[in-house]
């Protein structure tokens, strides 16, 4: 066998398996609050529970609200940034962060907003940070 060929094939195999491994580690499934408890970082999908207290505190510089995940678990979510402006209209929220002691600390938040003029399924996500 040609030495260069072996070298080439083995480096391709090595590269591919490294890529697969790393890619597999860097993606995640969407989970609910219960499952998020044991993770260092979780993506949780849900809706805003507007029956409980919420708002941005200029004192602590944090925005907090309650969110109900797809399985009906309600948890308090703390987001260390100003309230995203299309927050109230969002039909669905994705919070990305960490669950600690029954409070979800979101580092990032995505909102699915009903596009005003389109059907409900033509919805779009906006990243909270970018829609301020």
């Amino acid at each position: 066998m040609n030495f260069k060929l072996i070298l080439g094939v083995s480096s391709i195999v090595l590269f591919t398996s490294l890529l697969m491994y790393n890619f597999g580690n860097s993606i995640d499934s969407y989970v609910n609050f219960e499952q998020a408890t044991n993770r260092s970082s979780a993506h949780v999908v849900g809706t805003w529970d507007n029956t409980r207290d919420w708002g941005f505190s200029r004192e602590s510089m944090r925005f907090s609200f309650h969110m109900k995940d797809e399985d009906g678990n309600v948890r308090r979510v703390i987001y260390p940034k100003p309230k995203p402006n299309n927050f109230e209209q969002a039909t669905q929220l994705v919070v990305i962060g960490e669950m600690r002691n029954d409070v979800f600390f979101a580092n990032d938040m995505l909102m699915k907003c009903p596009s005003k003029y389109n059907d409900a399924d033509e919805a779009e996500f906006t990243r909270a940070e970018e829609s301020i």
């Binding site: 510089m61 703390i78 402006n85 002691n101 996500f125 301020i132």
Partner: protein
């Protein structure tokens, strides 16, 4: 009516493109010059009909014919003409039309400059891509299934079941829903056209590669294809740059690059195109790497189509900030990508055995090996990014419901690849121009390595870099700059026309240095309170209400009007107020914030803007968008936006109040009357009123021209008014006058407004007997809240270096295009001379 004509013209263009495809294919098959001439006319007809259709669409937009869905959905009456024009390609359908128009022009260039045997097959491939693209906007109803979405469909066709259409099929909305406010930007006018010119030009190497496989001429095709590929790369690079600058400067994405799928969509074809250029250059110079040149040319265009598929078919819907409306083109786009891949890769594999391959392996220390390695590294980087961007599809094999990969995935892969690339550029460039052995090469490297070491040590110390991989990255960047710099130096003396490559590779090194400095060493601007808080968070000594430690640092701070704050120990920052205007956007506020360097440098202002997004706001909820202010500097940029303000909060409350009550109740007016207070105050006296303290200092004379006619008494009072909790104070001089008109006496006391406190002040009576006056105050005196803004700001060092690197790359590509094009033009002219003599 006009819409129907437009629809007919688009359909005609679609039919013409099919006819052109057939005609060019026959011409290529039969080697017939006369059929080529006919085909050229079909191509022109396709372009002309599409131009007419585009003209009609622009006319419909300009004349506000809202019965058409596209016009209604993307424009409105109040849109300025230039944005009306760019709304033409603001939507999914229009952007396809723009792409096809660009391809048409590129096709005209190919018709003019391409020689046999390539012309017919190249144009056949171009026509095939046009058939697919035109099918996206054809809007043909084929047995109930729609082929594409026409920009000329009416609202009634788009939403046949909507109640207002059911009630009145001829319903025409009075106003459109308007262009997305974020797209009302000068960048919107130039960014999309440039990107589509790039995409169209990237079709050319693909077409030449197919033509080469078709005609079995594997050597000659790269000569005409190379300038096109270089131009495609220059345009894509410019588009990527403009997109990054747009995102950074006006869209408040927080940076110039976020590994967003749509950003990746233009980067990957650029990377693979650049890989292809490397392979083509080896083939030109050394008659090697035919296979790689063909394969990469094909792959670059497949990458364009694949990324179009990803961003427009709706599969990325949940992951991108660029939201394209899903037009139900999934099937068509899938077919497009499949046909292009099967045709390109399939044809390549079919001919694989015939494609020339080198007789003997090239040694490691050869320009062929080095350039080829560079090409492969670019390809690998492109593939990694495609892989990450495809996570909604590929991720399903790993987990259910896959999320997008973390940003670190892209960084972890691109960083080491970039480091290897940087080192290879230097070795490769040296070997490209001269023969070296290991010993002589090591000798040539001494000087660049020495300079690199010095520069790296200085940057590492100056930047306080402690991360080892960043150190290597910085070293690699400087090495690319100095190593390629020595080549530039060498070429400038001998062959200055050939410096394109050296410039490009220096630009790459500069880009690496700029990227690492500006992205890793971005620092938030914070006041002392937030800085101390974050220190305690890092130490784990902050606890929330429930007693759990807080781990998230604060990255914003509040400014109260006229109260300076020390920020990052470098500036005294003062918020000086805002003003509301209706231009260019209705209801926009621009905030004025002063920065005074504590070390005594020159002070400057930041003027960030907040504006209501009219198209997405409703009666009950205003959506606000921000326009950050970026202060660009040689060494660092300051990035600054207002994330909240008293004005915005009050507006939100007002709108919410209005929508709750639905009718303007007079109750609110009586409440205002209650806030009117009259105060008697003697000269020199100080009176407390709520949170304010007033002092009547003295009388002041009033000038003649400010008084009404027939004034008997006219006088001003100097009043000092202070907001006690904050200590801010104003001096005002309200006027009081008594004048006669028709033999009756009137008093004249114009109110003075103190905007910062939302207060009106009037000098309403003069009480001469007690040397005192009466003052009326209108405004809330208790629990008065001063004006404030919530600020998010960052310093980003050396963003200017990122732009410099990009400009060097653009300059390098331009030099190379010029060089390859003039050489190609020469052969062209020789060919035409031959034609005339024969």
């Amino acid at each position: 009516m006009l819409g129907t004509i437009g629809h007919i013209f688009i359909s005609a263009a679609f039919v013409a493109s099919i006819a052109a495809l057939a005609a060019y294919s026959i011409a290529a098959y039969r080697h017939s010059e006369s059929i080529v001439k006919i085909s050229d006319w079909l191509w022109r007809i396709k372009g002309a009909t599409l131009l007419v259709a585009s003209g009609i669409l622009i006319y419909l937009i300009m004349t506000h014919q809202f019965q058409y869905y596209y016009v209604w959905n993307y424009t409105s009456l109040d849109l300025e003409p230039q944005y009306l024009f760019s709304a033409f390609y603001g939507g999914q359908e229009g952007s396809f039309v723009l792409w096809i128009l660009c391809s048409f022009v590129v096709g005209l260039g190919l018709i003019r400059w391409t020689r046999p045997p390539y012309k017919a097959p190249v144009m056949a491939v171009m026509a095939l891509t046009q058939v697919f693209l035109l099918s996206m906007v054809a809007g043909w109803d084929i047995f109930g299934a729609m082929l594409g979405a026409s920009p000329f469909r009416t609202i009634a066709q788009e939403m046949p079941n909507a109640p207002f259409i059911q009630a009145n099929p001829d319903f025409v909305p009075a106003d459109g829903s308007g262009l997305n406010d974020l797209l009302k930007s000068p960048w919107m006018m130039i960014h999309p056209p440039i990107i589509f010119v790039g995409f169209s030009m990237m079709t050319v190497p693909f077409a030449f590669a197919i033509a080469s496989l078709w005609t079995k001429t594997y050597h000659e095709w790269i000569r005409p294809a190379l300038p096109w590929t270089l131009s495609a790369n220059l345009f894509l690079l410019t588009a990527i740059f403009l997109g990054g600058y747009w995102a950074y400067e006006t869209l408040s994405f927080g940076g110039y690059w976020a590994w967003d799928p749509v950003e990746n969509a233009s980067l990957v074809p650029w990377l693979i195109g650049t890989a292809g250029i490397h392979a083509m250059i080896i083939q030109r110079k050394s008659s090697r790497a035919h296979k790689a040149a063909l394969f990469l040319s094909i792959l670059a265009y497949i990458a364009v189509v694949y990324q179009t598929f990803l961003t427009r078919s709706g599969v990325l819907g949940a992951q991108s900030v660029h939201s394209f409306v899903d037009l139900g083109l999934y099937g068509q786009l899938l077919l497009f990508i499949l046909v292009m891949t099967i045709m390109g890769i399939g044809f390549y594999l079919y001919r694989y055995k015939e494609i020339p391959s080198p007789q003997k392996e090239s040694s490691i220390l050869s320009r062929e090996f080095m350039t080829f390695t560079g090409s492969m590294l670019l390809l690998i980087l492109g593939l990694v990014i495609i892989f990450g961007t495809s996570s909604p599809l590929i991720g399903q094999f790993f987990v259910d419901n896959p999320t997008p990969p973390e940003i670190s995935f892209y960084n972890q892969w691109s960083m080491p690849i970039a480091i290897i690339m940087a080192i290879f550029t230097v070795v490769g460039q040296h070997l490209f121009w001269k023969k070296y052995t290991w010993e002589t090469l090591a000798g040539a490297m001494i000087m660049p390595l020495l300079l690199t070491s010095v520069a790296s040590v200085i940057s590492i110390i100056a930047g306080d870099v402690s991360n080892i991989s960043y150190m290597i990255f910085i070293f690699a960047g400087w090495f690319a700059v100095f190593g390629n710099g020595s080549i530039l130096f060498y070429l400038l003396k001998r062959r200055p026309k050939l410096i394109g490559g050296a410039l490009n590779h220096i630009g790459f090194g500069v880009l690496l240095l700029g990227v690492i400095a500006s992205s890793v060493y971005t620092e938030p601007l914070l006041d002392q309170r937030a800085t101390n808080y974050n220190k305690r968070v890092a130490a784990g000594t902050v606890f929330d209400e429930e007693g759990f430690p807080v781990t998230q640092p604060i990255e914003m701070f509040e400014l109260k009007i006229d109260q300076p704050k020390l920020v990052n120990d470098r500036w005294m920052v003062t918020y000086e107020g805002y003003n509301v205007s209706d231009s260019p956007r209705p209801g926009q506020q621009s905030y004025r914030v002063k920065f005074e360097p504590v070390d005594g440098g020159r002070s400057f202002y930041m003027d960030p803007v907040v504006y209501p997004m009219l198209t997405t706001s409703s009666n009950s909820n205003v959506e606000w968008s921000v326009d950050p202010h970026v202060r660009t500097g040689m060494f660092e940029d300051i990035y600054f936006y207002v994330a909240g303000s008293k004005y915005v909060e009050k507006e939100n409350e007002r709108v919410a109040e209005q929508s709750r009550q639905m009718m303007p109740v007079s109750g609110s007016e009586t409440a205002e009357q209650d806030s009117l207070q009259t105060i008697e105050i003697a000269k020199g006296e100080i009176i407390e009123a709520g949170d304010f303290s007033l002092q009547f200092v003295d009388f002041r004379p009033a000038t003649e021209d400010q008084l009404p006619e027939n004034t008997q008494v006219g006088i001003r009072a100097l009043i000092k008014i202070e907001h006690v909790p904050s200590g801010s104070a104003y001096e005002v001089e309200p006027l009081f006058a008594v004048y006669t008109e028709n033999e009756r006496s009137f008093t004249y006391s114009p109110p003075l407004s103190i905007d910062a406190w939302d207060m009106d002040l009037q000098f309403t009576r003069l009480l001469p007997e007690s040397e005192s006056i009466e003052i009326s105050l209108d405004g809330s005196l208790e629990d008065f809240e001063e004006d404030w803004v919530l600020v998010v700001a960052e310093t980003k060092p050396f963003v200017s270096v990122v732009w410099l690197g990009t400009f060097l790359l653009m300059a390098g590509f331009s030099v190379s295009i010029f060089r390859h094009w003039s050489r190609e033009k020469k052969t062209q002219d020789e060919y035409e001379d031959d034609e005339q003599f024969s």
